[in-house]
Amino acid sequence: MLTQILRLALLTLSLLLPTQMVRAQDAAVDIPAQVTALGEASLRELGAIVTTLASTGDPSVVPVLTALGEGNLYLDETSGAVVIQRGSSITDPLTGEAVDLGADADLSRIRVNNGLRRDISAALSGMTLMSDNPGTRLSAAQGFLAKPDAANLPLLDEAIAAETEANVRSAMQAARAVTILTSEDASVEDKNAAVPQIVSGAGRNAITILTGALANAPDEVKPTIQSAISGLEQGRAVWGALQNVWFGVSLGSVLLLAAIGLAITFGVMGVINMAHGEMVMLGAYTTFLVQLVIRQNFPGLLDYSLLIALPVAFLVTGAIGVGIERGIIRWLYGRPLETLLATWGLSLILQQTVRSIFGPTNQMVIAPTWMSGSTDFFGLAITYNRFWIVIFALIVFFMLLLILNRTPLGLQMRAVTQNRRMASAMGIRTPFVDAMTFGLGSGIAGLAGVALTQIDNISPNLGQNYIIDSFMVVVFGGVGNLWGTFVGALTLGVANKFLEPYAGAVLGKILILVLIILFIQRRPRGLFALKGRAIEQ
C-alpha cells in the first residue's frame, strides 16, 4: 500500500503542469456522493459518473469501478446505500470495510452494458498501470491497447521505465506504439518505428490494430504497416493449417471416445447396439447428478466433480450395460436384425425415461476452472476443455488396449469372440464373459458422457447425435480392431476440419459421408481388416 502511494505521489510530481491543474480541479469532486449516485442512475448517467470518478485519479475509486464492471456493485433499496457484494460478504465500496445492512436489506444489482464495460476498463487501465500486481498491470496495458489516447503517453512512459517484467513491458510498449501510431501529432519516423513494436507486443491483436490504423495513417507510413500486416498474415496461414490439425485431433478424440465403447460391443462382440448413444447420455446425466450432490454437500470439491464422476459414471452405465446384456441381448445372439430393433426400442425407452425424470430442458454441468479458457501455444489457440478431452481419450484408449491384451478378462473376451464353442470347451464361462464385455463397452460410453458434458448439451437427445458418427468410425476403421477405431476417428476428425473451411459445415459433413461410402466400396472391411479364419464365419 505504502509503495503504491509513493508511486502515485511520484507520478503526480512528474506530470506536467496543465495536468496538475486538471487534477487539482477534480479534487473538488465529492467521491462518496458520486458513488451513492451510482445507485439510482440510468445507463447514460452511469457513463457520466464513471467518467467523473475516473477523472479524480483517486485510488479509492478503483475497487468501485472494478466492482461495477464485474457486476458486483449493488444498491440497497431500503437504505439507498451502494455496496459491493461478493459471495456472502458485503463491503463498503470506498473503505472496503464490512457493512451490516440489517435484515430488511433489499439488494439489487447496478447493471451495466457493453459500452459502459469498455469505458470502465479503459478508465481502470489509467489507474492500475502502476499496480503492484503484474497481472493487473498487463491487463491495464491491454486496456490501453484497445483504447489508445494520446493524453496517456506520459503515464505509459513512466510505467515502461519502471516495469520489471519483460512481457508486461512489451505489452506497454505496444500500447505506447499504438498510441503514437493513431495520434495526430506524432512524426512519421516515430510512427514507422512504432509498427514493429506493435507486431512484437500486441500478440494476436496485432493484425486487428494495424489494419484499423492503416486507413487513417499518413501515406509515408502506409507501406511499413502494409508489409507488417502481410508478414503477420503469412505467419497466420502457417499456424492456421496447424490450428486445423489441432481442431481435427480434438474432434477426432471426441469421436474416438464415443466410438470406442461401440468398438467393443459391435466390433468385438458383433452386437449392433443402437442404445450405445443412450449410455453416453446416461454417463452425462450421472455427471450432472454427481455434481449436484457435490455442490449441495461438499462445495469445496466442485473443481474435482468431474474426476469423481468418472468412476461413478463407469460403474452406473457398466451395470446398466450388464443388465441389458443379461435381460435382452443374450436371447438375441446371432440375430443381428432383432438385436438392432430391440436395442433401438430400448434407446427410445431410455430417452423418454430420462425426459420424464429430468424434464426436456438441458441440465447444467459447471466447467471446473482448470477446464475453462484457452492458452496460446505459440500461434495456436488451445482451449483447455478440448485439450483435456484429447488427453482423456488417449488415456481411455490405451487403458482399454491394456485390458484387452494384457489381462485374463481381455484374453477370455478375445477367446470367446473368436471361437465361442472352443472357449466354452476350455472352461471359460462364456455368458459371464459376454456380460462383462458388454458392461465394459457400456461403461466406456459412460466415460465418454462425462467428457461430453464439457462440450455439448446434457439433454435426453445427447446420445442420438453421436450414434451415427460412432458407427461410421467403427465401420471405417475396421470392425473388431481398436487401432482401426483410433486411426479412423482421428482421420475423420482431421478430414472434417480440413473440409469445413472450404465446403462449410453442412457440405463438409455430406462430403465425408460420400467419401466413406466410396471407401467402403473399395475396402468393405475398413482400414484395418481382421484376417484369419475367425472372420469368415
Binding site: 457486476g71 447493471r111 452494458n113 457493453n114 459500452g115 464495460r117 469498455r118 476498463s121 494476436r204 491483436n205 493484425i207 486487428t208 494495424l210 489494419t211 484499423g212 490504423a213 492503416l214 486507413a215 497466420r236 490450428q243 486445423n244 481442431f247 480434438s250 474432434l251 471426441v254 433401438w344 427410445l348 430417452q351 423418454q352 425426459r355 424434464g359 426436456p360 430442458t361 438441458n362 441440465q363 447444467m364 459447471i366 466447467a367 475453462s372 479458457g373 484457452s374 489457440a381 482451449t383 483447455y384 476443455n385 478440448r386 462440450i455 448439451n457 446434457i458 439433454s459 435426453p460 437427445n461 447425435n465 472434417n496 476440419k497 469445413e500 473451411p501 462449410g504 459445415a505 453442412v506
Partner: protein
C-alpha cells in the same frame, strides 16, 4: 435410413395414443370447448415445446377458473408431434376431424407450420403460432403471435449499428441450415447492403441442426473480426447447437465487449441449462423478457410458477405469445358469440389485449400483432437486462419491405381485400414478384 421414419412414427403413434387415452372419459361431456395443443413432447424440439404445452394447460386452467368461455369450460386436447413434421399434419387433421377441436395452438419450427398449413386451410380451422419466424407468409386460418423479421431482426441490427450498440460495421450472419435462418439472413443481408455495408464486410455461415463442434467457425469469426472494424455476430442458430457455440466462444476468449453476439432464438429457457458467466454482455432480441419489471409480468410469473410447482422455472417470449394469442382468441369468441372459425376470423382483427411488458397487443388485418422490441444483455443469472427498447409498439409486417420480390406485397384479411399476398402495384391478389 428408412428406420428413422418408421421409428418416429411408431413412437409418436404410441405416445399420441397414450396421451389421448386419459382424455376419453372427458370427451363424453358435451358442453366443453375443445382446444388443441400441437407441440413436440419428444424428439429434438421437445426441449422448447414441452414448456409451451404446459403454458397452454396453465392458460386454460386459469380461464376455466374464471368461468370458461361463453359459459362453457375449455378442454385441452394434447397430442405429441414428436418433432416429426409429416406426423404434425396428420395429427392436426386428427385434432380437427376426430377430436373436433375449435382452435389449435401449436408448432415451433417453420417447417412444422408449413406442413400443417394446408390442413388448416382445407378444414377451415384456426392455428395460433407463437414463435418468431421469417415472415413472407400470411394465411387466413393462421394467427402469427410471434415476431416477424421487422419486429426482431431489423431492430436488433439497427441497435448494433447505433452508437449505443457499438457502431458495428462488420457482420457475421450465423445460422442453422433451414428456412427461418436462411430467409431472415436474406432479408438482413439486403438490409445491410441498403445501409451501405460492403459485401466483403458480411460473412454468412450455416451449420447443421445440433452442430456441436464449433472450433473452426468460432476461430473464423475471430479472424473475420480482426480486420480493424467493429464486428458483431447475428445468430439465428437454433435449438441444441447454441450451448456448444457459446461455450466455444467463451473458451476461445471472445468477449461481448469485443465481438457481441445478438441471438434471435436464445431465451431464458435455453439459458436455464447453462452457466452464463462467460456470456455476460452477449445480446438477444425479443419482444418479452422475464426480467421486465411490470405488475402484469410479476403476476404472470407468480401464477406460472405456482401452476408448474417450481419457483425456478423461467418464462420466455413464446410463452407470452401464447398468452396473447389465447387471450385474443377468447376475446374474439366472446365478441362473436361463437367458436366458428369464420366468425372468429371476422371478429378478431382489431381486438386488443395487454401484453406483459406494459403495452397493448393488437391483432392486425394481416394476422400479425403489435409488439415492442427489446434488446437484452445476458446476465450471469441466466436472465436478460434490457439495454434498449423501441419507443412505440411495432406492427408485424408479413411481407418484408427489404426484399425486392416481396416489398410490394401486403396482407389484409378484412373486406374488401381479403387476401394474404395483395400486390399493391398491380392491385391483384396472389400477385407474385413477376
Amino acid at each position: 435410413m428408412n428406420f428413422t421414419r418408421a421409428k418416429s412414427a411408431l413412437l409418436a403413434a404410441a405416445l399420441a395414443g397414450s396421451i389421448s387415452l386419459p382424455m376419453v372419459p372427458a370427451m363424453a361431456q358435451e358442453d366443453t370447448i375443445k382446444v388443441g395443443i400441437l407441440h413436440s413432447l419428444s424428439g429434438t424440439m421437445a426441449i422448447s415445446e414441452t414448456t409451451l404445452k404446459d403454458t397452454m394447460l396453465f392458460l386454460i386452467e386459469q380461464q376455466n377458473a374464471k368461468g370458461g368461455v361463453l359459459g362453457k369450460q375449455l378442454e385441452p386436447v394434447v397430442v405429441d408431434i414428436a418433432s416429426d413434421w409429416p406426423l404434425a399434419a396428420e395429427l392436426a387433421r386428427q385434432l380437427i376431424e376426430v377430436d373436433g377441436v375449435d382452435v389449435v395452438f401449436g408448432c415451433w419450427t417453420s417447417v412444422c407450420r408449413k406442413s400443417v398449413l394446408p390442413v388448416f386451410e382445407e378444414l377451415n380451422s384456426l392455428l395460433f403460432y407463437p414463435v418468431q419466424y421469417e415472415g413472407e407468409e400470411s394465411q387466413r386460418n393462421v394467427f402469427y403471435t410471434g415476431a416477424s423479421p421487422n419486429q426482431q431482426a431489423i431492430p436488433a441490427v439497427d441497435y448494433l449499428m447505433s452508437e449505443d450498440g457499438g457502431s458495428v460495421e462488420r457482420w457475421v450472419l450465423a445460422g442453422t441450415d433451414y428456412v427461418y435462418p436462411q430467409t431472415t439472413n436474406k432479408i438482413l443481408e439486403q438490409y445491410l447492403l441498403d445501409k451501405g455495408v460492403a459485401p466483403e464486410d458480411i460473412m454468412i455461415n450455416y451449420t447443421p441442426f445440433g452442430h456441436s463442434d464449433w472450433q473452426t467457425i468460432v476461430s473464423d469469426i475471430k479472424t473475420f473480426g480482426s480486420a480493424g472494424k467493429k464486428t458483431a455476430v447475428v445468430s439465428t442458430i437454433n435449438g441444441d447447437a447454441n450451448v456448444p457455440f457459446y461455450r466455444e466462444l467463451g473458451n476461445q476468449g471472445i468477449k461481448a465487449e469485443d465481438i457481441p453476439v445478438v441471438a434471435f432464438s436464445v431465451g431464458e429457457e435455453e439459458l436455464s441449462g447453462f452457466d452464463t458467466t462467460p456470456l455476460v454482455g452477449h445480446l438477444a432480441a425479443w419482444n418479452y423478457f422475464m426480467s421486465v419489471d411490470t405488475p402484469e409480468n410479476e403476476a404472470f410469473i407468480a401464477d406460472w410458477q405456482k401452476f408448474i410447482g417450481s419457483d425456478t422455472r423461467v418464462t420466455n417470449d413464446p410463452m407470452e405469445a401464447h398468452m396473447i394469442g389465447f387471450n385474443l382468441w377468447v376475446a374474439a369468441v366472446e365478441k362473436a358469440g361463437s367458436t366458428e372459425a369464420d366468425a372468429v376470423i371476422d371478429n378478431i382483427v382489431g381486438l386488443e389485449t395487454p401484453n406483459l411488458t406494459g403495452g397493448i397487443a393488437k391483432m392486425l388485418p394481416n394476422h400479425h400483432i403489435t409488439k415492442p422490441v427489446l434488446i437484452g444483455e445476458i446476465q450471469d443469472d441466466g436472465q436478460f437486462f434490457v439495454v434498449w427498447e423501441t419507443e412505440d409498439l411495432v406492427p408485424g409486417d408479413a411481407w418484408s419491405d427489404y426484399l425486392p420480390e416481396s416489398k410490394m406485397l401486403e396482407a389484409d384479411w378484412t373486406a374488401p381485400i381479403n387476401c394474404g399476398n395483395y400486390n399493391t402495384e398491380t392491385k391483384t391478389c396472389g400477385g407474385s414478384a413477376q
